[in-house]
Amino acid sequence: MIETLLQSLQDSVIGTAIGGGATLFPWIECAHVLALTTVIGSIALVDLRLIGVVSRGRSVAQVTDEALPLTWSAFAVAVITGALMFVSNAVAYGHNSFFLIKLTLIALAGLNMAVYQGFLSRGAEDWVNTESTPLRARVAGAISLSLWVGIAAAGRWIGFTMGAVA
């Protein structure tokens, strides 16, 4: 069932166009790298502020407002370009452990963010320095940062385990 789906994705017009040519895939990869570095960098800005390493002169709420619009727009680009690369070689990606690890880590990062936004971030306007940032928020920041480092690493390892250009 899944095998058939993966194979038909790969055989689709989009799949063969990206997988068959020599230039489309690298250009999509460039857009993916630009997007994912923006996602990770902007999230790391918030995480490092929560932990208390950077931007300590600004409240957590201010730093979040500054970073998250970048995160979301770049995340949309990363998902679209990621999906296009996936389709070009769906069967192999579907069986690649690092690809599955990466998706799992992204889901965990999303869950961590939802918990933080939903329950932990109340009062973030008043977290103006490290002392006033509660421990629970700092832990959420540390978890997020570790997950995104893992996501970047898993992404890089996909390239080395697909048997294609790294």
């Binding site: 790298v33 923006t38 500054e66 970048l70 970047a152 250009v165």
Partner: protein, 166 residues
């Protein structure tokens, strides 16, 4: 080019290069560190240039934004250079004679010079880029060029892997 070719051939046969080439996890690990630093630079560059373009963070004076994010670029560059050099030692055939690698280094030098130019007048006058409309337009022009350069650097970085030198 003859000397460079000979150097790369020699480098590829050194024990250091051989060691990195035969230890599977080193290259993706170094690339992960490299890409995390690219994330730090990209996010800083975006926040700074979007502010100069007047698209975001208009409530913040440019010099305070520059004080927060220009150092991130300067601190990331030595790590990017170090990890970049290790990647060259690991795969000498991939970089120094590769035209895309040379393009990347050219764009990088231009971006570094441009970033210094943007920062310099702020020492004497914190609101330099926000004053007369002529300066605002100059700031926007510099921001546009800077964004184009950094996007070019990232794309060239990815294309190094696809343009193989015979």
């Amino acid at each position: 080019m003859g000397t460079l070719n000979a150097f790369c051939t020699w480098l590829a046969q050194t024990r250091l290069s051989q060691g990195i080439q035969t230890t599977e996890w080193i290259i993706p690990a170094i690339q992960t560190v490299h890409i995390l630093c690219v994330a730090a630079v990209m996010t800083s560059v975006l926040l700074l240039n979007l502010r100069l373009l007047g698209l975001r963070a208009r409530d913040q004076p440019f010099d305070s934004l520059a004080a927060r994010f220009v150092p991130v670029i300067w601190w990331s560059l030595p790590i990017l250079l170090t990890t970049g050099v290790i990647l060259i030692i690991a795969e000498p055939g991939r970089a120094p004679q590769n035209p895309v690698f040379l393009l990347k280094m050219g764009l990088l030098s231009a971006a570094v010079v441009l970033t210094s130019i943007c920062r310099r007048p702020l020492r004497k006058d914190a609101a330099f880029w926000d004053q007369a409309s002529g300066r605002r337009w100059a700031g926007r022009l510099l921001a546009g060029i800077s964004l184009a350069l950094w996007i070019g650097i990232v794309c060239a970085g990815r294309w190094i892997a696809y343009v193989q030198v015979a």
